[in-house]
């Protein structure tokens, strides 16, 4: 059996990749995908612990997160499309009017 820390390290790498992607990329769709990556790293952690501890609660959480992520993807992509229709860009540096 693969030890638990393998999963956790993979999950951490995925999460940090997601965070770095969110912070550094300028394309809204890529940022969006990075967020999905972070969510899935969390899912991986849940599943790993669930199997390790023999407790199904973690797997149930994964389904919730997947459902929320699906809803979020629908809304998020809708926002991106609306943004593009209005500004002809998905570069978030051009979308900074919410400030002083």
């Amino acid at each position: 059996m693969v030890p638990i820390h393998y999963y956790l390290i993979l999950s951490a790498v995925m999460f940090i990749t997601g965070v770095v992607g969110v912070l550094t990329r300028r394309n809204a769709i890529i940022i969006f995908m990075c967020i999905e990556l972070m969510l899935n790293s969390v899912n991986l952690t849940f599943v790993a612990f669930s199997a390790y501890l023999g407790n199904e609660t973690g797997q149930m959480f994964v389904f919730f997160i997947m459902a929320v992520a699906a809803a979020e993807a629908a809304v998020g992509l809708a926002i991106v499309i609306a943004l593009f229709r209005n500004r002809q860009t998905v570069n978030i540096n051009d979308v900074n009017i919410l400030r002083w």
């Binding site: 965070v19 940022i31 979308v95 919410l98 400030r99 002083w100």
Partner: protein
């Protein structure tokens, strides 16, 4: 009967509520006047019933405290709305409601046609309500409520005709005179409050009976009691127009004449005398304060009387006369003759109310003319006013057997016997001046040839005005018989009646008994001689030549101007107090403190918030990733703290 004392206070309250809330709708002067007068009349009837009931009880069972409800309760501190019914308060209640009732009736005639008729009666009822609280209260706090209440009514009624001009030093409107009265009284009230605080600190209670009970065991000359009594007395100098706070009373004549009669002669201004008498047991413990009271009283008496000689406004003469008579009352209190002081309060209420109402009748007849140089010969056209005015003038001048003779003579005798011959001499000199200026005024107003303009048609006043005049004149005649001294074969009933109230003070002071009657007879003869001289000189001088003032003024020069201009007291106060205060308020408090400091703090708070925001808003970039980066930083810090 005494348990119904609350109703005495309640009737004027009901009257003022009806007239105050519905008066504008009632409009009918007769109805409004009847409600106002009727309320006070009912109080008077009830006061008489309580008085008769008390007469039937043994002297030691005449004092009661009637508690209505707890007014203030905070920890161990408790103040009740409680009324003390005893010989002193019932006497004051009788005077306040009795004289008050007559003046209410008089006002129906005097205020006829005034556009604020209902407002006038509302204020008058409010005044009676406050005054009754003042005299009936069983503790200092309730007394202070009445004390402030009468001051408020005084202000409201002085400025009653607020659209009218009023000539005075630095005063142009009646409202200014009202303000002046209010402010000067405020100084006295402040001292009164300080006195009250000191009493609470020293005695731990503010109820008269408990304070007097504790005072019974205190030593004479206690320094705290000295300050308490002195502060209370400063309060009294404000309300009762004594030096140094007497300056408001002459200007208070800006109000309608019934107000001058009720508030500024008969009742409110005697509140200070009543208050000192109520605290007689404390004053007896402070001989130094007593001396101050006596001296202030005597000096006020002679100073005001001398000013009265040179005044030409009929109400101003009476106003200074009132200040002077109040001085007598304080002289009496100061030498420990509390009964004589209260006796003079009573007789003075009768004859001075009559004089003021008489002057109101004259002013009414002369179409608002107040200058006695433009009167004369009114004797024939207004006989009722003339005769009542004359009788009251004889009373104030101390002609036996009118009321003023007995009360004033007792004061002079006590100031000689228990005070000093100097006090007596000042009092006697003031009495001479009193008789002189009174008969100067009577002669100039009613006798000789008419000096008024042809377009004036004086007439006698309506019965609603003359009947109160007659009633008050009758009281001025017989009022003194309750205090006929023993040397004249009288029982001095008022002394017997009030004795239990002042017994504690008299025991503390331990004044010697006077058995040698010869001195008393001699002094009495001198008083009578003084009164007759004043009358004779005043009448002769001004009957022969109505312009005698001008001759005297030409002869005495500066001295006359000094009196006519009231010793320049108003000017002195203006220069020494009013203008510095105004200047400090304007240039320091307003232009520096308010504009720079207060406004500076407020504006500074706004400016600080603006500056902070301008500085901090640079972190609001509008770039989502910056916010996300901050969230990550925060997360790392929090996690780091948890782990470490």
């Amino acid at each position: 009967m005494h348990q119904y004392v609350g109703l005495i206070v309640l009737f004027p309250l009901i009257g003022l509520l009806i007239n105050g809330l519905l008066g504008w709708k009632i409009k009918n002067e007769k109805v409004i006047g009847s409600i106002g007068s009727g309320a006070v009349g009912l109080s008077f009837a009830l006061a008489v019933a309580i008085f008769i009931d008390m007469l039937g009880a043994a002297p030691e069972q005449r004092s009661h405290v009637v508690e209505l409800f707890t007014w203030i309760a905070a920890g161990s501190f408790k103040v009740s709305a409680a009324y003390q019914v005893d010989q002193l308060s019932v006497l004051m209640t009788l005077v306040v409601t009795g004289v008050g009732f007559l003046i209410h009736v008089y006002s129906i005639g005097y205020m006829h046609g005034d556009r604020s008729f209902a407002r006038f009666f509302t204020y008058l009822n409010l005044f009676i309500f406050a005054m009754l609280n003042l005299v009936l209260a069983d503790n200092y706090v309730l007394m202070f409520l009445g004390w402030e209440g009468v001051g408020l009514c005084s202000y409201l009624l002085i400025g009653f005709w607020y659209q009218k001009k009023f000539e005075g030093v630095t005063i142009t409107w009646t409202g200014d005179a009202g303000n002046k009265a209010f402010w000067v009284n405020r100084i006295g009230d402040f001292a009164f409050m300080l006195g009250m605080f000191l009493i609470f600190k020293e005695f731990g209670t503010l109820t008269f009976n408990e304070v007097m009970g504790q005072a019974d065991t205190m030593a004479v000359g206690n320094s705290t009691v000295f300050w308490i009594t002195l502060l209370l007395f400063i309060g009294a100098t404000g309300k009762s127009a004594q030096i140094p706070l007497f300056i408001w009373l002459p200007d208070a004549m800006a109000g309608p004449t019934p107000v001058s009669a009720l508030i500024h002669a008969a009742t409110m201004v005697t509140a200070g005398v009543y208050m000192v008498a109520r605290n007689s047991a404390l004053y007896a413990l402070a001989p130094d304060t007593m001396m101050v009271v006596a001296i202030v009283g005597a000096v006020t008496a002679i100073m005001a009387a001398s000013i009265g000689i040179a005044q030409n406004d009929i109400k101003k003469v009476l106003a200074y006369s009132t200040v002077s008579q109040l001085g007598y009352m304080f002289l009496a209190l100061g030498v420990g003759a509390f009964t004589a002081g209260i006796f003079h309060v009573m007789t003075h209420a009768f004859f001075k109310a009559c004089l003021f109402l008489g002057s109101g009748s004259v002013i009414h007849a002369m179409h608002e003319e107040q200058d006695i140089r433009h009167m004369g010969g009114l004797k024939k056209v207004m006989p009722y006013t003339y005769w009542t005015f004359l009788i009251s003038s004889f009373a104030i001048a101390g002609f036996p057997p009118l009321s003023g003779f007995f009360s004033k003579d007792e004061i002079l005798w006590k100031s000689f016997a228990d005070g000093s011959p100097i006090l007596w001499f000042i009092g006697a000199a003031a009495a001479l001046m009193t008789a002189f200026y009174m008969f100067r005024m009577v002669t100039l107003t009613f006798e000789g040839k008419p000096r008024w303009a042809d377009d004036k048609h004086p007439h006698e006043s309506p019965p609603s005005m003359t009947i109160p005049l007659i009633a008050l004149a009758a009281l001025a005649v017989v009022g003194g018989f309750v205090g006929v001294p023993a040397v004249l074969g009288g029982g001095n009933a008022i002394h017997q009646w009030l004795h239990p109230v002042f017994a504690q003070a008299e025991k503390t002071m331990a004044l010697p008994e006077h058995h040698a009657h010869t001195t008393e007879y001699i002094l009495m003869a001198i008083s009578v001689a003084i009164g007759v001289t004043g009358w004779w000189v005043g009448r002769r001088m001004f009957l022969k030549d109505p312009n005698a003032d001008e001759r005297i003024a030409a002869k005495t020069g500066f001295l006359y101007r000094l009196l006519a201009r009231k010793y320049f007291v108003d000017e002195a106060y203006d220069a020494a107090v009013v203008r510095p205060v105004v200047k400090t308020s304007d240039s320091f408090l307003f232009r520096f403190f308010d504009v720079r400091i207060i406004d500076g703090i407020v504006n500074g708070a706004g400016a600080l918030a603006g500056w902070t925001s301008r500085t901090l808003r640079v972190i609001q970039t509008g770039v989502v990733q910056n916010y996300a980066a901050l969230i990550v930083v925060g997360l790392v810090i929090v996690l780091g703290l948890i782990i470490l």
